[in-house]
Symmetry: C2
Subunit: 419 residues, 2 copies
């Protein structure tokens, strides 16, 4: 934690003039009573920015929200869990647009001012018959201090809700940043996954906000991997309404630096919490690479190690297996010289100059047996650095994901299967 | 099978004038009596070609064999299992060269005429004290018809030995191609893995042989994936001694076409047998991609699908989960249009135009429940095609690879651990 910001209570409604509400619509299963739809609204006009999955198969709400963020003045985010509205064709787009239009009307805004996000099963049509009637309940219940309910309504196979809030000073005024997120697998069984919403009462221009968000995503959500798969629905959306009364935060200023630092922290904490709550994950592993020929080379090495099934299996088994790590370094396509590679596990040298270090195996094993540890890889070539947050791979992950689970059950319930 | 060649009995000693022998040296464990060192020698001078891992962390024998194949007239291959001689520094190189030198002397050849291959544990020095004394036994026992023993001596976590042989006519003469291979995981726990040796009594120039081998590897070993990891030791070596008396096979001729076809078949059969015998694999899955913008795009899509943990988990669970397949297609970085993507599973349409096809789920599930099936993906854009052979991912694979297994036990046995 830095001296620039401090953690405060709450999530997306911690910043001033943000309202939210969550309801149970039975999106996935009408017989189960759990929060599964939520709405975040800024009471005053605001600017918005977002980043989305680069998967070429994009869910309908991703396509719709991208257009709204580009063309409109988004001030509200509608989210549902239980159905991803992905691979649903023209009907899926119509459903997403209709939700935005209806909510917009209810809060006195245009369709293009409402972003829509969905997470859940891929390939099934949205149960609009259950969703539409709940939209007015959602808007009628809007209130401050309901942020936690939003975090809960987004969950799919997450085992806990995830939210955070910080405050910082901008030119004498107190500014807050709040966020909530959901994850689970990078992508679940037929689930389409990562969502994060951030609100702030700082005053920021759209151009500056875009830059703040993309920089923060680069050091947070782009740095995590659970199973190496990338979802059709990944979305990060930030709303900034200026309600704190602070002066506008301009790029390149000291205030911008402070705000970026606080925003990075908020997003990194959310990103790390997704890894910790990944499907059947037992360990949180930080992979630091330095000494690479370039930033891109460091990234290649970190990603190869963090995504290697064999490396992740060894972590699950408390095995300080540097041989697997160095082989993943070798196939990363980065420039490496075997005889220069150093690998430290939990701060202890496991491999120096490409050879086994003189280290106690028992001590190394103890490091990997912990529920969080760091792998430091130094290529000793140049100045390129990169860090990624990863997890182990457990037999339980495979077992969980091999079962025919959400899709067919849900389709059958809604009478959509063809026999 | 084609009319060009036919399968015959035997492996690497099926072609004329190839001798081999295998012995038990206790490389991994002196207390276990199993074949673990073998030698293949051509009685007459021959030309050799090879392809090797592109992992930048290369085992010592890979470096040595690459040099020998480039500079020398390789006519012998020495192989051991139980120790990969990888990440062993200068000492590893000296050990590999010494083995080649001693074997060369024993058979009246130069060091540079002997290729050396190792597979087994990474990071431990070669137990030369057990290996060296067996080199004369290896050369003394050289005989025809011992090919199967070579295939057995190469095995690590393979559950069966792998060999094949075919015969074909080249200008009236009968020519044979023989091969043996070992695999298991693409890379094992600390194991460094894929090896394939091919012999032929066809007469071929070095230039032509290089081209035949690289074309055959492209459609065989480069098309398989078990866990997406790439080993430090992968090696394919082909020896051609011309002992059949056939005329020299020149590139671009009808004979070359026939020989290439037979060689492709031999290597493809070996490659497929590695997938079938992959660690804890229960299914053999052929992934065909067509309609891509280019060959490279088709390859990207096939590799993304064949390497996706979630897709592989679903296959393990008999789940015809096209949603996971299309999401992997989407993140493959190939040019795709969601609304044009067709996916067939076992010949049945699962997804047409990016949407669920009108198909019986029970029928689809039956296809995936088989121990071999095909996934056909048509991007419907252009003419790019690619095929890859893959497997499922089982909880047992993770369980097998999470256990602290070969390395520490072996190191402890040889008194190499530091406590």
């Amino acid at each position: 934690m830095s001296s620039v910001y401090r953690k405060v209570k709450g999530g997306v409604t911690a910043p001033q003039k943000f309202l939210s509400h969550a309801v149970s619509a039975g999106v996935k299963n009408p017989d189960v009573d759990r929060l599964d739809m939520a709405l975040i609204v800024s009471e005053v006009s605001c600017v918005a920015a977002g980043t989305f999955t680069i998967n070429r198969v994009k869910a309908a709400p991703v396509k719709v929200s991208q257009t709204h963020l580009r063309d409109g003045d988004v001030c509200a985010i509608l989210v549902n869990s239980g159905n991803a509205n992905a691979c649903t064709g023209v009907k899926g787009l119509e459903d997403a647009r209709k939700c935005a239009r209806v909510v917009g009307k209810l809060i006195g805004k245009k369709q293009s001012q409402v972003a829509v996000c969905s997470t859940g099963v891929i390939g099934l049509p949205m149960p609009m018959v259950r969703i539409e009637p709940m939209l007015s309940a959602l808007t009628e219940g809007l209130a401050t201090g309901e942020g936690t309910a939003v975090a809960k309504a987004m969950m799919t196979s997450d085992t806990c809700h995830k939210e955070i809030s910080v405050s910082l000073k901008v030119g004498g005024e107190t500014v807050k940043i709040g966020a909530c997120a959901k994850g689970a697998g990078m992508i679940n069984p037929h689930m389409a996954t990562m969502l994060c919403f951030v609100t702030t009462d700082a005053k920021i221009s759209k151009v500056a906000l875009n830059s703040f968000v993309s920089d923060a995503v680069e050091v947070s959500f782009n740095r995590i991997t659970i199973d190496g798969d990338m979802s059709t629905n990944d979305s990060v959306i930030l709303l900034a309404n200026g309600a704190s009364g602070c002066k506008s935060i301009r790029r390149g200023t000291q205030d911008a630096k402070k705000f970026q630092e606080a925003l990075n922290y908020v997003m990194q904490e959310m990103a790390k919490s997704l890894v910790r709550d990944g499907e059947r994950v037992t360990k949180f592993v930080t992979v630091n690479v330095k000494g690479a020929k370039s930033y891109n080379d460091a990234k290649k090495v970190a990603e190869a190690v963090a995504n290697s099934s064999l490396v992740k299996c060894s972590w699950n088994g408390n095995d300080p297996n540097w041989g697997r790590i160095i082989h993943a370094v070798g196939y990363s396509k980065a420039m490496v010289k075997e005889e220069l590679i150093d690998i430290h596990i939990g701060g202890l040298a496991a491999c120096l100059g490409g050879l086994e270090a003189n280290v106690s195996m028992d001590l190394l094993r103890k490091k990997v047996a912990g529920d969080a540890f760091t792998i430091d890889i130094n290529l000793n070539l140049c100045e390129g650095e990169y860090t990624i947050y990863s997890s182990d791979l457990s037999p339980e992950y495979v077992d969980f994901n091999r079962s025919e689970y959400a899709y067919w059950k849900q389709a059958r319930r809604d009478g959509l299967t063809k026999q």
